[in-house]
Symmetry: D5
Subunit: 94 residues, 10 copies
């Protein structure tokens, strides 16, 4: 079951630089783990913004929320979720 | 080069039903032709709306505009284009 | 799996009054069928508006879209879907 | 008398971590007390956000405001209240 | 129990002038009946707009919706309802 | 001459607690003085928000601005003013 | 007492061309009468739009609403009124 | 003196097809005349929309409004004008 | 050449009180100098807000930007500029 | 391939003044380097704002994102990118 997830990152100026570096590293590792598991199906950068457009594959709303709220950057992101369905004109079922 | 394209369809009540059916059929054929050519990479329905989220692969902005403005439903759609770049945490280059 | 669904009804002035009455009757019957099946869990009127707030229980995004796009009033409604998850402070699992 | 209440939590970075933990614990206890009393009828997490959608049952606007403004997280939340009425197509009176 | 009700009137050009005159007359009579009953406590014109700001006194959300949806102009109005509570600095209880 | 005034209070976290208590006390006293003088005709709490809806009676725009900008909480409020006129369907002149 | 009044004109396509010409002529005459009386103090075109920014001088909110709602184009305009006060840095009282 | 001008075209369905073709032809001719005169400095299509972004060079606000309101498509466009100034980091004066 | 300029002042809490007083004094002096030169034609307070509506007369966009960016409060203001043209119904050329 | 890029600069009060001066200098140098290379085709100041409108020429979305995210002021800017295509009425191909 697919969802479009749009994430905008807003890290406060006051956060310690080392802490920020550590969080970003953990974010990358966690993100790549989910990608390898096939849960985080696509991850694109929005040109000119500290933001991404992603496609998640989750078995349920609960699983999706658990994945998103476990992101190390979760406290510093604005996230918008759009549930997706199969399109009748699509040549593939995804 | 990838772009997220969000399309909302708004067909006026006053349009002739046969004409609408014909346009929708042509839209489907044209859409599937672009999908088979690898230009229209993903096509998903937004749940609860007469709208879709799509990923296009175009060689240039001009090519993308030509594809979109050639859609039979183009005069009846509100379209928003977001240019996408490779994300440093993505495990694939797409 | 629960979803909040907000529907705003906008029936064009130009629609035939008998047709409108027929569509509303079919909408009511279809809505009550889904309620009896436990799919449409709650249905409330927004005070002062021709609109409702609903809670749907669907096995998947595809099932939810099929239910919503089958509503007789679907062509005349603006619909917004919000996926819901279990809340850690809730005393029930619903 | 039912109300939809949408709450978005925004705790400032500068707040002491122990204080935050204490407030969240009190919030949970107070929330569960209201749920057990039947005042806070439903409580759902919005997927991907530090936010909830709730249904409250209050005898009056004054009682609802007293409940909401007594929430330990009240100073750190953005709250939107929508009064609900019985829907003519609903198969239950709630 | 008080509610602020903001109404914006948008009568379609295509409506028959005699019908419009009749609806407006009925609206005025119904409005004045509710005012005399103490249900519609205040009614003010927004300067420069075909709109009003009103204060309603209703025993319940259901009663308020019944009053508003019975307005002859209801199909041609955009209505926003804000529930009001007693203010701790107010020198009267109203 | 009546005006609807909507006030949203946003006191910064960083403000000293004693100072905040003092300002709120002065706000209440000043507000009640204006109410007793008949200048601040109505004062209601918006349910679920640190906000109010008020009706002011002022002899001129200048007098209204003087009253509002003299509020002790003025530097911490977002204020929106809507001029009101007599409504032709109102049964009273107010 | 001064007010900024912003008017956006939206004449429906379906209106008879002769009627539109007549209304515009009456609008101009009425506007110039109010200007000569000193009530409509300034009238500027917003560049690139069928819209204007105006400054009105009215003895009361009621007088202002009477002037605006008497404009021949009133049914075809979206109007926003902003009450103005004397500015402490202004070198004139106007 | 440069201005960014953003134009969105919205031609009503009800307009006669021959008339639309004629207006578009005149629009093109007028647009190219202004380009050749150096008044309409740049004209770009917004990808996926029936809209353009343009840069105009005008001697005054009045001249700019005259040019824009003389566009054959003016009654069917939504136009937004942004005045531009020389940027201190620009390597050219334009 | 006239421009409507709308300024909203937002001075951060953290700024030193003496510095704020000094900036406001300089702002007043600079504003009155521009008014006496006929560049800042009108200056009105928006009722209930720390904001103003102004009319500037500038020979060019560059001159206007120089005047506005030289305002001592410029770093603490949100400014919106609307170019104005002569209105065909105005009885004066201004 | 052209893109309109709109940048709004928001430097936090808390940033060290020397650091800000250094960043601005580097921003200017980097900007002028890109202009000389023909990548940053136009750069205009928005009148009255700490913002600019720019036209970039990039070989790909990735190249554009690399240029924008390398701007020394990037962490302190809000950026919006609009892809542009050739306009059929333009007398030049740019």
């Amino acid at each position: 079951m697919l969802f479009m997830v749009e994430m905008i990152v807003q890290i406060p100026q006051s956060l310690d630089a080392d802490l920020v570096a550590k969080i970003k590293l953990e974010e990358k590792e966690y993100s790549q783990k989910l990608q390898r598991e096939g849960k985080w199906r696509h991850l694109w950068r929005v040109v000119g913004e500290y933001a991404n457009v992603s496609i998640f594959d989750a078995a349920s709303n609960d699983e999706l929320h658990t994945m998103l709220s476990s992101l190390p950057l979760f406290p510093y992101m604005q996230i918008k979720v759009t549930p997706l369905a199969n399109h009748p004109s699509s040549i593939v079922q995804e």
